[in-house]
């Protein structure tokens, strides 16, 4: 095995562990922390089913953001839908045989990368152009966008300009998954792309990317408006009651 292959193999094992372990731990923390009071932003659905619909609309359509700001919505939604399609398209590098629908979305996924990068560019422009957004932007906000754009552009370079050896990449990835190692191709663009992806995976659990799991735990969005019918009480609050009753 070349040192290149060893480096990328180790990197991807670490990145995967950090991503899965880290996000799992953060989710555990969110789930463990009680929401002592009923605080949905009203008007809110009155049933669990209604809450599921509200959440789906937030996650799929970014409904609140749409109400809020059409530019951020447009860029943000383009970026995320682009990202989702691109990620789904990438599944083919991790499976053999490739599922039918993964095959089917390949062309969409290919061009979704333009939407993704355009959306990111729009979001980034706002960080310079809008004084309010400039004020709240930290270096990490800029770097996060730079990182995602760099991942997108390096990927697009391989898709549309300097094709890389896909068969070899796939063999490398499947090898990592089955512990039957294959060499990592020494294509500089691919090396850059995969390195940046690993960085993204590693910072995910300690960065604002936690908004993805976070939204599902946001009490203002995931609670039903039913406080007159249901008694919400956190364990620590119930303990107060027993002590003082």
């Amino acid at each position: 095995m070349t040192s290149l292959t060893i480096f990328y193999s180790v990197l991807f094992y670490i990145a995967t562990l950090v991503l899965l372990g880290g996000v799992a731990y953060r989710i555990y923390e969110y789930a463990r922390t009680p929401a002592p009071l009923n605080i949905p932003t009203t008007p809110a659905p009155t049933s669990k089913g209604g809450v599921a619909v509200r959440m789906a609309r937030e996650v799929v359509l970014f409904e609140s953001l749409f109400k809020s700001n059409k530019w951020i919505w447009l860029f943000g939604w383009l970026f995320h839908v682009g990202l989702a399609l691109v990620l789904l398209r990438h599944l083919r590098y991790f499976q053999e045989p490739v599922w039918f629908w993964v095959e089917f979305i390949q062309p969409f996924g290919k061009y979704a990368s333009f939407a993704m990068v355009a959306g990111l560019a729009g979001l980034w422009a706002r960080r310079f152009l809008v004084d309010r957004v400039r004020y709240i932007s930290t270096p990490s906000d800029h770097l996060m966008l730079a990182l995602l754009i760099a991942i997108g552009l390096s990927g697009m370079l391989m898709t549309f300009v300097a094709h890389t050896d896909i068969v070899a990449v796939k063999a490398f990835m499947l090898g990592l998954m089955t512990f039957n190692f294959h060499p990592m191709p020494a294509d500089p663009v691919l090396m850059a792309h995969l390195f940046l992806v690993a960085v993204l995976m590693i910072i995910f659990p300690v960065s604002k990317l936690l908004h993805a799991p976070g939204i599902f735990f946001s009490p203002t969005r995931n609670q039903a408006d039913d406080p007159r019918e249901t008694r919400h009480i956190a364990p620590w609050a119930a303990a107060l009651e027993r002590d003082r009753a």
Partner: protein, 507 residues
């Protein structure tokens, strides 16, 4: 009124988003609480030597106890969608009044001490050391937030800056930095029974006086019963309803409705305050202790129903939290809840808003009105934040918007909504909520009222509106004070039940 020492913003057709002006309101600091009230509440009254440890310790506790704070600290992506949604930012241009920046004051500390990147590379992620300057900023800007939740409507993750403000005030109290106004009110309500600090006998006198006034006015002996054991309904209302104008007009309205319905009802001298400033300070135990007065009064008087008068934050606490805090509501199967539930009449929601009660009677045809008695008024309705975004009325989501408007339309002929983007869930705060209704914050209050004043001015100019109807005691007090700064007559403000009381037919 002495002339203001600051520039009152000019009214415009649309509220424009200002360019940021750093430090514009950095000097506006509410008076700090003194020893007496702070120690009654169990807080220190000056910065202890180990304040830093205490702040971080309390912050850690809040993060363990409140999922909202924990998730909101992590989830914000700095997208900026909320930056132009806060009335205090729109009115002052101070960037720290942008909701995300207000959260950021705390998030900087959270990142620095509770997250890995903030510990390793604070400059990268906007993390900052905790200093006395941090606490000063917290104090100033957490008292320039009315906890109105407008930002939470527009944030893609529902991040509610009110939760952060509450956490900030809670932490500050624990290191001896309390706000005089709220701190003293929290003492008065617990010692005397209401926020105004008026004792039982004064209340009794006032009610007798009001009964005489009504009878002189209408010839009908409408009663305002106090502490009547065995009454069916306990009315819990903000104490301003007893002593302030225009609030008292709504109290008269409630009494007339009860009279016309032939209801058996009572007020309580023990629970002579619906307001609960424990909400504003983010302290669960204080909020619970204050809410428990209502439960105790209900049990002592043996009432079957609990109805809440016109007060925004009180209704949020009653509707959304009473069941949790005190068992007033349904669904609890613990002995504490059951004890109360078996006394309450299960045919009705508990607690119930006075508007729900009145509207129900109107729908049933029990109440009769002469709408023409309100004909000198062209009315608009201001949705109060806590009602709009923190509670509900009726069985359908959004009932908190339709029910008060339905009542107004049933008792008056001329009604006109303000612009859609300034009412309903998008409503703009009056500028005085969340513990800001104090003279030492008048500049913040006047400037924060700007978006509402612009929307109001449009219907005054365009539709000849001359009456701003409300269901919140704080909004009423705030508008009576602030309208004149913008050139309006303070008498334009009044409660929905003032309109009901004007038009209702009594016999």
């Amino acid at each position: 009124m002495a002339g203001p020492e600051f520039e009152v913003p000019a009214l415009t057709e649309y509220t424009e988003v200002p360019k940021i002006k750093e430090g514009a309101t950095a000097h506006l600091k509410s008076f700090i609480a003194a020893e007496a009230s702070q120690s009654y509440l169990g807080y220190p009254h000056q910065l202890p030597a180990d304040w830093k440890e205490r702040v971080l310790d309390r912050m850690g506790q809040v993060l363990e106890k409140y999922r909202s704070v924990r998730v909101f600290m992590d989830a914000c992506v700095h997208c900026g969608a909320c930056t132009d949604k806060c009335h205090y930012f729109l009115g002052t241009a101070d960037p720290n009044n942008m909701p995300v920046a207000r959260q950021e004051l705390m998030r900087k500390v959270y990142r620095r001490y509770f997250t890995l990147p903030g510990k390793i590379a604070p400059w990268l992620v906007g993390a900052e050391d905790l200093t006395e300057d941090t606490l000063n900023k917290w104090y100033n800007y957490y008292h320039q937030c009315s906890e109105c939740r407008r930002c939470s409507v527009y944030c893609p993750y529902g991040i509610d800056t009110a939760e952060i403000t509450m956490a900030g005030r809670e932490i500050l109290n624990h290191v001896g930095i309390g706000q005089k106004y709220s701190s003293e009110i929290l003492v008065k309500v617990q010692k005397i029974g209401n926020n105004l600090g008026l004792p039982g006998p004064a209340l009794e006198d006032t009610l007798l006086g009001l009964e005489e006034d009504i009878e002189a006015d209408t010839g009908v002996p409408v009663k305002m019963p106090l502490d009547v054991e065995g009454a069916e309904i306990l009315l819990v209302t903000p104490s301003a309803d007893f002593f302030s104008e225009p609030h008292v007009e709504s109290l008269i309205g409630y009494a007339k409705v009860f009279h016309a319905a032939g209801a058996s009802w009572t007020l309580s001298s023990k629970a002579s305050e619906a307001g609960n400033f424990g909400l504003f300070n983010g302290n669960y135990e204080t909020m619970r202790a204050i809410a428990m007065r209502i439960r105790d009064a209900a049990l002592e008087l043996g009432v079957k129903r609990i109805i809440v008068g016109e007060c925004g934050h009180a209704w949020r606490v009653a509707y959304a939290f009473w069941n949790t805090l005190t068992g007033i509501g349904y669904g609890g199967d613990d002995p504490f809840s059951v004890e109360l539930q078996k006394r309450l009449d299960p045919r009705y929601p508990q607690p119930m808003h006075i508007c729900e009660y009145t509207w129900d009677l109107i729908e049933k045809g029990v109440l009769k009105f002469d709408k023409s008695l309100n004909d000198d008024r062209v009315i608009t309705f201001h949705d109060s934040c806590n009602v709009a975004r923190g509670s509900r009325m009726g069985t359908e989501p959004g009932g908190q918007f339709t029910i008060p408007r339905n009542i107004i339309r049933a008792v008056a002929n001329n009604y006109q909504d303000m612009a859609a983007e300034t009412i309903g869930e998008s409503t703009f705060c009056c500028g005085g909520g969340g513990g800001l209704l104090t003279d030492d914050l008048i500049e913040v209050r006047v400037k924060g009222a700007l978006p509402r004043m612009n929307a109001y001015n449009n219907v005054v100019q365009g539709q000849s509106v001359n009456f701003l109807a409300l269901i919140c005691a704080i909004c009423k007090a705030q508008f009576t004070k602030v309208l004149p700064y913008y050139g309006f007559d303070r008498n334009m403000v009044g409660g929905v039940h003032q309109l009901v009381g004007t038009a209702i037919k009594l016999d």
